[in-house]
Symmetry: C2
């Protein structure tokens, strides 16, 4: 079979699986997820064996330590994978929810009902746990998933998929609801991206390069997450002690995440009072500071920030610091250099807080809270499949609701259009 037909056959299998799972009861879907979790736990040994093949290959290929770490499945991670499946089973089923219903003057009732999207393609890189995490969310929302993981994780991914498919089958679901494109040929992704009308949505998960390549080549709608270049603005009317804690939390608590702060903007009138203690605290925590001219006038012995630095997502203990004239300059900076991910203002002033909230156009805007809270669990939405920096369909943390569509339902008694 040629590659095109191969990918098409996988997608067709997913389509049939999707039609079936879209109509399955919550009970059955939950039961399948719990069976999957049990099977994952029971297969820890086999999973580690398959994973060892990927790790050996990766080492031979000279993958970095960080990449090898991401690739690794150990007992803890296998346990977490199983627990993740159980957690998704416990979430409310979004399918069939009627989000609104109203009466029209002619007596017909119109409503909006949540329905599955259909077939969702997930294209991801080295973490094999994505295989189970993404599958659980897609299935719970009544969708089939068609997975394409990184070639370096292929043994691990295939083993996980087999477990998930067998459990689905045992529950009476069509195994096509979990489909894996198991060829090392990189062109397979390009073939998948052409299957408009069979695959309904593509979610790429990984680095900027992967996401750009998918976006540029897809005929299918894509939900994506580019980088998180996040800001905290310390206003002149901030509680400076609170501002310190928020900025420290936003940068240091977990610097490798997309909602960590990359640039701290400080209002000029409080720069002298705020910066010395703050920067001392950062330095003590191992943060490298890159400051603007004004910052360097106030605090000595720090690097100079370059204009290009303001665009960077460091994902590391590095921080740009810029002193701004006022809130207008702060918001201008955010609009120019930010990635519309997460921005916070620290202020006691009502009007400025509300203005920042309204005018800053990011997936999440915070008053007096750390940007680190931009997260599905923290917002109370349950597990998430990523954080969308798109404006279409989903913005911010994407949970089960974002994996559904809606349809209009109309109940009448013979209404005719005049």
């Amino acid at each position: 079979m040629d590659l095109k037909s191969f990918v098409l056959s996988k997608a067709e299998e997913a389509r049939v699986g999707g039609r079936a799972i879209g109509k399955v009861s919550s009970e059955k879907k939950n039961s399948a997820l719990i069976k999957m979790a049990a099977a994952v736990k029971k297969s820890a040994k086999a999973l580690k064996r398959e994973n060892a093949k990927d790790l050996a290959f990766g080492r031979g290929k000279g993958l970095s330590k960080a990449l090898l770490d991401r690739l690794t499945l150990n007992d803890k991670r296998i346990h977490e994978m199983a627990e993740g499946l159980i957690e998704v089973a416990a979430l409310p089923d979004p399918v069939g929810e009627i989000t609104k219903m109203w009466q029209r003057p002619n007596g017909m009732t119109v409503g909006r009902m949540r329905v599955p999207i259909g077939v969702i393609g997930i294209i991801y890189e080295s973490r094999p746990n994505v295989t189970a995490d993404a599958t659980s969310l897609c299935l719970k929302a009544g969708n089939a998933v068609i997975l394409r993981g990184g070639s370096e994780a292929i043994h691990s991914n295939k083993a996980i998929v087999k477990i998930l498919r067998d459990a689905a089958k045992a529950e009476g679901l069509l195994p096509g609801c979990v489909t894996y494109i198991d060829t090392p040929d990189r062109q397979a992704v390009m073939e998948l991206l052409k299957l408009e009308g069979i695959v309904d949505l593509i979610i790429p998960r990984g680095g900027e390069g992967l996401i750009r390549a998918v976006t540029e080549n897809s005929r299918i709608p894509v939900l994506k997450h580019y980088k998180g270049v996040c800001h905290v603005f310390v206003d002149r009317d901030a509680d400076l002690a609170m501002a310190q804690d928020i900025c420290f939390n936003a940068k240091v608590q977990r610097p490798g995440t997309c909602n960590a702060m990359e640039t701290m903007l400080v209002d000029k009138p409080v720069a002298k009072a705020f910066l010395p203690t703050m920067i001392r605290r950062f330095k003590k925590a191992g943060v490298t500071i890159k400051g603007c001219a004004e910052t360097r006038r106030i605090v000595s012995a720090i690097d100079t920030v370059q204009k290009e630095d303001y665009y960077d997502e460091y994902l590391d203990l590095i921080l740009n610091v810029r002193v701004v004239k006022n809130i207008d300059e702060a918001m201008k900076h955010v609009a120019e250099y930010g990635s519309a991910h997460s921005e916070a203002i620290v202020t006691k002033d009502y009007a400025k807080g509300m203005r920042f909230l309204r005018e800053v156009d990011s997936s999440a805007v915070f008053i007096n809270v750390s940007t680190r809270f931009n997260d599905g669990f923290q917002f109370g939405l349950g597990a998430e499949i990523g954080i969308s920096t798109d404006k279409i369909h989903a913005r911010g943390p994407m949970g089960l609701e974002e994996l559904t569509s809606t349809k209009f339902i109309v109940l009448g008694n013979g209404q005719l259009r005049e």
Copy 2:
């Protein structure tokens, strides 16, 4: 300037216009729309003069009568265009609406606020009224619009755009909120479709060819409306008199619309009782019937329907009639041949009605109502920019809400992530 730079400069102008209009009050937007309406009314003569140039050119090019009709601006249409602007001014402003707000255990409040999308590109064909209709909806939702109409309507479109821009300027808005790509070069659309990051959304309005070309070439998210191949299923438990009226209304009331019925599915046990009178009534109204073998056994002197006919959107007084074994075969037919636009069941049976409602995956599903009601005004949503047959972001009639995005807003008092 080369084409690429030309299109880019237009898009940049729209981007700046969009940033500004996103923050403008409802009052100012409404006032601008009302000024636009007044200016359109006052400029009827000038508009007809420009339109005459397009019509003359079109006649010379040998455009069909139907196309020339669509292209025509007369007093009635100009008046309707102005009234449309006033109607949109009267709709509630979606921007700033907080759709939901909740408290988290740590005391922070999380909400979702509606925000403009940004810059919306509208690519359309010959109707010049789209220029004003699409602009009014985009502006009201706080977006800039970048318009690209058919080359055959360029004089009319440019004249309308000038009126709209002048009125925007008079209200103190940046004219960039209404931008027109005024070059006859067809490649301009391709350049526009590459401007990801500047243009946020593309809405093509026109025939299937246009929509496919846009979808295949766009790196920007596209909201589209393919064809409407709509069905009415007359169940064995239908009130047959009601079924007759609904089917007649769905086919005949305005056959050229996307929500008109193209295939009538009749449950076998009532076919003999239902079809003869129904088909007589259709024929009297000038409808050409294409029947399946069973239909032709019951009613003589009708054409045979071919399998390919079931995929056709006739937009005309032509109807496929098929007798099906039961509701399952009806739903299977809809899933196989339909375009997921509008489908209705006529039945007195509760369980079958509910099953059809739940299992048929179309943008609108009706019980005992004509499919012709799939429309923004009829659903009570106000003016619409089209009916989406997509599943992502918008499905069914797209009104002002569908021209917005949301962001998360978080109000706290110093919360830190642990």
